[in-house]
C-alpha cells in the first residue's frame, strides 16, 4: 500500500506539468458532456423552433437583459434584479435565519430535556409530516399578504429539519463528557457553548442543508400564490399569464444557479466549521 501511495505523491509534488494535464483532462471529462448536451439542446431547439422550448442562447440573452444589463457601478445588476432577485433573497434569508434561530434554540432545549421532548413529541412529529405548501393558504388568512406571509411559510417548512436534527445531536452528547463538565463545574452557558453545541454541530449542519433547499422551494411557492407583487415567483406567474416562455425558462435557470451557489457556500462553511470534527474522527 505504501509503495502504491509513494509514487503517486512524488508525481503530485515533483511534476506540476503532469498535474495540470490531469486537471485539464479531469475538467474536460466533467464539463464536456454538459457542453455537448447544451450544444445538442441548442441545435434541437433551433431546428424545432418551438415557442415552448427556446434555445439556451436566447435564454442567456434574456437573463442578461432582465437582470445583468445594469451599469458597472451596480456590479452590472439592472433595476430588474432589484425588483425580482432582491425581494426573493431577502425573504428567503429572513425565513432561513428565523428557522435556524428557533430550530437551534428549541432543538437544544428539547434535546437536553427528555421530559419536555416527551410532552411535545406527538405535536412535533405531526407538524413535521404536514406538507408545508398546505400551510400556505392558512398563513394567507392569518398573516398580512406579502413578505410576512411568505416568511411565515418558509419558517414553517424549514424549521423542522433544523429543530429535529439539533435535538438529535444535543441528545447524543457523550455522557462521560457531560459528567466531566459537571465535575469541573461548568456553568449551563459554558456547557452549551463548549460541549453541547460543538458536538451537535454536524447534525445541525445536516438539518441546515435540508432547510436551505426547503426554504428556496417555499420562497418560490409562496410567491407563486396571489397577493405578491415582486420577486422571482411573481415574475414566474406574471410570465405564465402572458405565456412568455422565455422569461419562465430564464427564471428557472437563474433559480438553478442560485440553488447551486447556496449549496456550495453552505458546504464550504460546513467544511470550515467542522474541520476539527473530521480531524478528530480521523485520529
Amino acid at each position: 500500500m505504501t509503495t502504491a501511495a509513494l509514487p503517486a505523491r512524488s508525481v503530485r509534488t515533483a511534476r506540476p506539468g503532469a498535474v495540470a494535464f490531469r486537471l485539464v483532462r479531469g475538467l474536460l471529462h466533467r464539463l464536456l458532456p454538459l457542453a455537448i448536451l447544451v450544444a445538442c439542446w441548442e441545435a434541437a431547439t433551433r431546428a424545432a423552433d418551438s415557442p415552448f422550448f427556446p434555445p439556451p442562447t436566447e435564454i442567456v440573452q434574456r437573463m442578461r437583459e432582465m437582470w445583468f444589463s445594469g451599469p458597472a457601478s451596480h456590479l452590472f445588476f439592472s433595476s430588474g434584479a432589484g425588483e425580482d432577485i432582491v425581494p426573493s433573497l431577502y425573504r428567503m434569508a429572513l425565513g432561513l435565519l428565523v428557522s435556524v434561530v428557533i430550530g437551534v434554540a428549541l432543538g437544544l432545549w428539547l434535546g437536553r430535556s427528555e421530559r419536555v421532548l416527551a410532552y411535545l413529541n406527538p405535536l412535533l412529529q405531526f407538524a413535521r409530516v404536514i406538507p408545508p405548501p398546505t400551510m400556505v393558504p392558512v398563513f394567507i388568512v392569518l398573516f398580512e399578504m406579502g413578505t410576512q406571509m411568505q416568511v411565515a411559510s418558509i419558517v414553517f417548512g424549514a424549521v423542522w429539519p433544523v429543530l429535529l436534527n439539533t435535538a438529535d445531536g444535543a441528545r447524543a452528547v457523550d455522557s462521560t463528557q457531560m459528567a466531566t463538565a459537571e465535575v469541573f463545574r461548568l456553568s449551563p452557558y459554558q456547557r452549551i457553548r463548549y460541549l453541547i453545541i460543538p458536538s451537535a454541530l454536524p447534525k445541525i449542519f445536516a438539518g441546515l442543508r435540508l432547510a436551505l433547499s426547503l426554504s428556496l422551494i417555499l420562497m418560490i411557492f409562496a410567491e407563486l400564490l396571489p397577493g405578491t407583487s415582486d420577486g422571482l415567483g411573481f415574475q414566474l406567474t406574471n410570465a405564465q399569464s402572458m405565456s412568455d416562455l422565455l422569461t419562465i425558462w430564464s427564471v428557472i435557470v437563474l433559480l438553478g444557479i442560485l440553488g447551486y451557489l447556496f449549496n456550495t457556500i453552505l458546504l464550504a462553511v460546513e467544511r470550515r466549521v467542522l474541520s476539527w470534527h473530521r480531524g478528530a474522527r480521523r485520529a
Binding site: 464539463l31 421530559r115 459528567a179 414566474l236 416562455l245 447551486y260
Partner: protein, 269 residues
C-alpha cells in the same frame, strides 16, 4: 459501570405516551380558551376541537374522499415512475465510474432547480390535472432515490464482489446478486424521502393549478371562501395524517425487510 455513574435517565414507554397525550391536550385546551375568550378571532383561527370535528366529518364526505383519491393517485403514480427511472439510473451511475463523472455535471446542474419553479412551465406545456402533476412529482422524487442508490452502491463490501468475480460471475450478475441487495436498505431510505417529497409536490401543484380536483384544490378553494379556515385547517390535518401514515408504513416496512441490515450494522460497529 456507566449505568451506575449516570443518573437514571430515559422515560418508560407508557410515561412517554402519557406525556405526549398531555401535550396534545394542552394544545387543544389553549386553542379552546383563546377561541372562546375571544382573544383570537374564531373565523381566523378556529379552536382545535372544531377543526378536529370538521376533519372527522370530512371522512364521510364522498366529494372530499374523491379529492383525496385523486391526490393519492398522482402521488403513487409519480413515485412508482420515479422508482422505475431512478433505481436503474443510480445502479448505472454507481457502478460505472466513467458514466458517473460524465453525467455528474449535468446532474449537479439540474438538481438545485427547485421543483415548484417548474409548475408554471409545466402548466403551459402540459395543461392541468394528472398529466402535469405526475411529471413534476417524478422530477422531484427522482433525486433522493438516485443519490441514495449511488451512495448504497459505494457501500458494498468489496470482498464479496471480488469473491464473485473470481468465481467467474459477470458484472451484471455481481450487480444483481451482491450490489443491489446490499444497497437495498439505502434505496428504501431514498424511496421514503421521495414519498414525502412526492406528497408535497402533489398537494402543492394542486394548490397552485387553480382548477381541477385533489386535496390541494380542496384546501385552495376553501381558502378563498369567508369562514373557510376551518376547512383549510381540516384539510391540512388530513394532509398531515396521510403523510404520517405513509411515513410510518414505510418505516415499518424498512424495519421488517432489512432487519438483517441493522443487525449487521450493530455487529460491525
Amino acid at each position: 459501570m456507566a449505568d451506575q455513574t449516570t443518573p437514571p435517565r430515559g422515560l418508560s414507554r407508557p410515561g412517554k405516551w402519557a406525556r405526549g397525550a398531555v401535550g396534545v391536550a394542552a394544545l387543544f385546551l389553549a386553542s379552546e380558551i383563546l377561541g372562546r375568550a375571544g382573544i383570537v378571532d374564531r373565523s381566523y383561527l378556529p379552536p382545535a376541537s372544531s377543526i378536529t370535528a370538521r376533519a372527522v366529518e370530512l371522512f364521510g364526505d364522498t366529494d372530499f374522499l374523491f379529492n383525496v383519491r385523486v391526490t393519492l393517485t398522482a402521488w403513487a403514480l409519480g413515485l412508482l415512475i420515479a422508482i422505475a427511472i431512478a433505481v436503474p439510473l443510480g445502479l448505472l451511475l454507481g457502478s460505472v465510474p466513467a458514466v458517473n463523472t460524465a453525467v455528474r455535471a449535468i446532474v449537479e446542474f439540474l438538481r438545485p432547480i427547485p421543483s415548484v419553479a417548474l409548475i408554471p412551465l409545466a402548466g403551459l406545456l402540459l395543461g392541468s390535472g394528472l398529466s402535469m402533476e405526475v411529471p413534476l412529482i417524478v422530477y422531484a422524487s427522482c433525486w433522493p432515490i438516485l443519490f441514495n442508490t449511488m451512495y448504497g452502491l459505494n457501500d458494498v463490501d468489496p470482498t464479496a464482489k471480488e469473491t464473485l468475480r473470481t468465481f467467474g460471475f459477470s458484472r451484471i450478475q455481481i450487480l444483481l446478486r451482491v450490489s443491489l441487495p446490499s444497497a437495498a436498505p439505502f434505496i428504501a431510505t431514498g424511496v421514503r424521502l421521495a414519498a414525502s417529497i412526492a406528497l408535497i409536490l402533489a398537494v402543492g401543484t394542486e394548490i397552485l393549478s387553480g382548477f381541477g380536483d385533489g386535496l390541494g384544490m380542496f384546501i385552495a378553494q376553501a381558502g378563498t371562501v369567508p369562514d373557510g379556515t376551518v376547512d383549510v385547517l381540516a384539510g391540512t390535518v388530513w394532509a398531515g395524517c396521510i403523510g404520517l401514515i405513509i411515513d410510518s408504513v414505510l418505516v415499518q416496512g424498512e424495519n421488517r425487510a432489512f432487519r438483517w441490515h441493522k443487525a449487521q450494522r450493530s455487529g460491525a460497529s
